[in-house]
């Protein structure tokens, strides 16, 4: 269906279902329960899941297929954000032009960065991309302040010219971002029993774009172009002597992934029209690397899973403070309770980075294929088939079903 083989169609259908039902799936605990704090089904976080999912899907097209590890992709996300806010300042609060322009600017910038960085490979390529991103980050704070508004960040104001719209609404406030009139903030809440589900317009716009982005990535993975990108990773010498020029293939992958990053940046400002330079910092570039590796480099679904896990840790796991821990372990004798809390505490709340770091190390060492490999191994146990027939992918129907 849709030009996908059976397995991919199934995978895509599952992703569609999960994305559309996310407001319900992510809110499994009743509002009044103790566990409600683990609910992730609120618009802001759901939007972030999806936006970073798009970012990671794009990153994976470069890193997963060609093996080129960029440490500067946040720069493209940043450029996309700035371009998006400018569109809203100058043209319209409709998010569509903003998103399109984000993608175009990020694409152009990645063409320049890629063209230069791809003169080298391996660690030198990574360093070059890192240097570009840090340069962009610093410039955003200094020379480029007229465009980026420096440390304050670029935001809307009450006297933006906005050609196809108004500078301020009748009641003197900044107009809201919308999709042909549907405000991104709009939505409705559904209360069922003790549960509360929020269906937000912004989330569903992001979700629809994620699904398109995911679909495009499946097509690329399964196309002759995708096979060429895998060839780049596998053996560039052989490519050269087989009549193929690896350089433009790699550059194309770089630009496509840069455009995905720009799309993510555009969606961020479509949800919340504010762009800051910190989005371009190396930590942000590093984050998407972690997401991709954690989920499963070179797999279709891995990047989405990886970004979900990391964003969940960052936003939910980080909220567990010592009061909550004392609550949990209240059933223990007092002395023991304090002791257990003291041990657990460094790993939760503000210590979420520590836990994530440990999880990441364990994954890299024991599951080099990330969460996806973990899933495959578990599935392998149930099938009672040794999971080691990875070398026998279903070539007849789909060469190298990588996930």
């Amino acid at each position: 269906m849709l030009g996908l083989n059976k397995r991919d169609t199934l995978l895509f259908a599952i992703v569609i279902a999960i994305t559309l039902l996310a407001p319900i799936i992510l809110n499994p605990f009743p509002v009044a329960s103790d566990l409600a704090q683990f609910n992730a089904g609120y618009p802001d976080l759901m939007q972030r899941f999806v936006i970073f999912g798009i970012f990671a899907i794009g990153f994976n097209i470069l890193f997963g297929l060609t093996g080129y590890l960029s440490f500067g992709h946040a720069a493209f996300l940043g450029v996309g954000s700035y371009a998006g806010v400018w569109m809203m300042k100058l043209l319209t609060m409709n998010v569509v032009p903003a998103i399109i322009v984000s993608v175009i600017f990020a694409g152009l910038f990645s063409l320049l960065v890629g063209f230069i960085s791809l003169r080298r490979s391996g660690i030198y390529f990574s360093i070059l991309t890192l240097a570009f991103a840090q340069m962009s980050f610093s410039l955003a704070y200094s020379v480029l302040t007229p465009i980026t508004n420096g440390e304050t960040g670029l935001q809307l104001s009450l006297n933006d010219p906005r050609i196809l719209g108004v500078s301020q609404t009748a009641d003197g406030s900044i107009p809201m971002t919308n999709f042909f009139g549907i405000a991104m903030r709009d939505g409705f809440e559904l209360s069922m029993g003790g549960w509360l589900f929020t269906f937000n317009a912004g989330y569903y716009l992001c979700a629809a774009i994620l699904l398109i982005a995911f679909y495009v990535s499946i097509r690329i993975f399964r196309s002759p172009f995708g096979v060429m990108l895998k060839a780049v990773k596998s053996n560039q010498q052989r490519m050269l002597y087989t009549g193929l020029n690896p350089r433009p293939y790699t550059l194309a992958a770089f630009v496509i992934s840069g455009m995905y990053a720009g799309l993510a940046g555009g969606l961020m400002v479509a949800m919340d029209p504010l762009a800051g330079a910190e989005r371009m910092q190396w930590t942000a570039s590093g984050e998407v690397v972690l997401m991709t590796i954690l989920g499963g480099t070179g797999t279709l679904i891995g990047p989405i899973l990886g970004s979900g896990v990391i964003k969940y840790f960052e936003n939910i796991f980080s909220k567990i403070n010592d009061n909550i821990l004392h609550d949990w372990f209240a059933f223990l004798p007092d002395g023991l309770e304090d002791f257990v809390v003291a041990i657990v505490y460094p790993f939760v709340g503000k210590g979420w980075h520590l836990t994530l770091g440990i999880v990441f190390m364990l994954v890299v060492i024991f599951l080099p294929g990330g969460i996806v490999e973990g899933g495959q191994r578990i599935a392998g146990l149930f099938k009672r088939k040794p999971p080691e027939d990875k070398n026998k992918t279903a070539a007849a129907s789909a060469p190298s079903a990588a996930e």
């Binding site: 399964r222 096979v227 050269l240 002597y241 087989t242 433009p248």
Partner: protein, 251 residues
């Protein structure tokens, strides 16, 4: 006028003269072997044909076009395929993909963004690749990962990757290196079949027995110079060849 004409090729590596004044004229449709002891400059010469090395002086003409100063992928696109001394394959892809990639390269050129089509729908290319794998007796392994093949199979896969391109000129650098006797004989038989298709072949070997029954002509390279060029029957007895191989112990 041969399909490959090499005139006055010289190549130095620092103080070492790897090739001095090499001349070759290889007739279309023939199998031409270049033999010589280790270090004679055979691989260096081949590298000068495919754009890996640039000779210091001299010309290399293929089908009326100079092969110098152009990129390896351009040389391949005009019909020259090469098998390496250590097989160069796409080790993390399966055999079918390994053979489809060169088939795509022939059809689509050096670069084409073909991102919307599914590999699964490329029936013609797939068919060609499968036929080629079948001819080389590897169809049953089409979905195996290439890196896990034995060395002999890797070599055959590499050969399949070259043949699927229907090259005009096939260059082989020690195609039987590191193979057991039986495998060597199989490979030679295979090369004989390929020769019957009319593909011009240049085969490099240090062991001249291997190419005796295969080659139409043999050039003997020693210390960077072609010392003899003749039919196989007349090579063995040639005193110059005896001398070149003395100590090499291959004769």
């Amino acid at each position: 006028m041969g399909i490959l004409e090499v005139k006055g090729v010289n190549k130095r590596f620092g103080g070492l003269k790897a090739l001095s004044d090499v001349n070759l004229d290889i007739a279309e449709g023939s199998v031409h072997a270049i033999i010589g002891p280790n270090g004679a400059g055979k691989s260096t010469l081949l590298n000068c044909f495919v754009g890996r090395l640039e000779p210091d002086t001299g010309t290399v003409m293929f089908d009326g076009r100079s092969l110098l100063g152009i990129q390896p992928f351009e040389i391949n696109q005009i019909g020259v395929s090469r098998v390496f001394q250590t097989p160069e394959i796409f080790a993390d892809l399966n055999l079918l993909e390994n053979v489809m990639i060169p088939a795509f390269a022939r059809r689509d050129g050096a670069f084409k963004i073909n991102g919307w089509m599914s590999v699964g729908d490329e029936a013609e290319i797939r068919e060609e690749a499968m036929t080629m794998l079948d001819e080389l007796g590897m169809a049953s392994k089409a979905d195996h990962i290439a890196g896990q093949l034995s060395r002999g199979d890797k070599r055959r896969l590499e050969l399949a990757m070259c043949l699927v391109q229907k090259p005009k000129l096939l260059l082989l650098d020690e195609p039987t290196a590191g193979m057991a006797r039986a495998d060597t004989n199989n490979t030679i038989d295979l090369l004989k079949q390929i020769a019957k298709r009319g593909i011009t072949m240049v085969v490099i070997e240090h062991d001249m027995h291997v190419v005796f029954s295969l080659a139409d002509r043999i050039s003997v390279l020693a210390q960077g110079t072609v010392i003899v060029e003749d039919e196989p029957g007349k090579i063995k007895g040639n005193p110059k060849v005896q001398e070149a191989y003395l100590g090499g112990a291959h004769l």
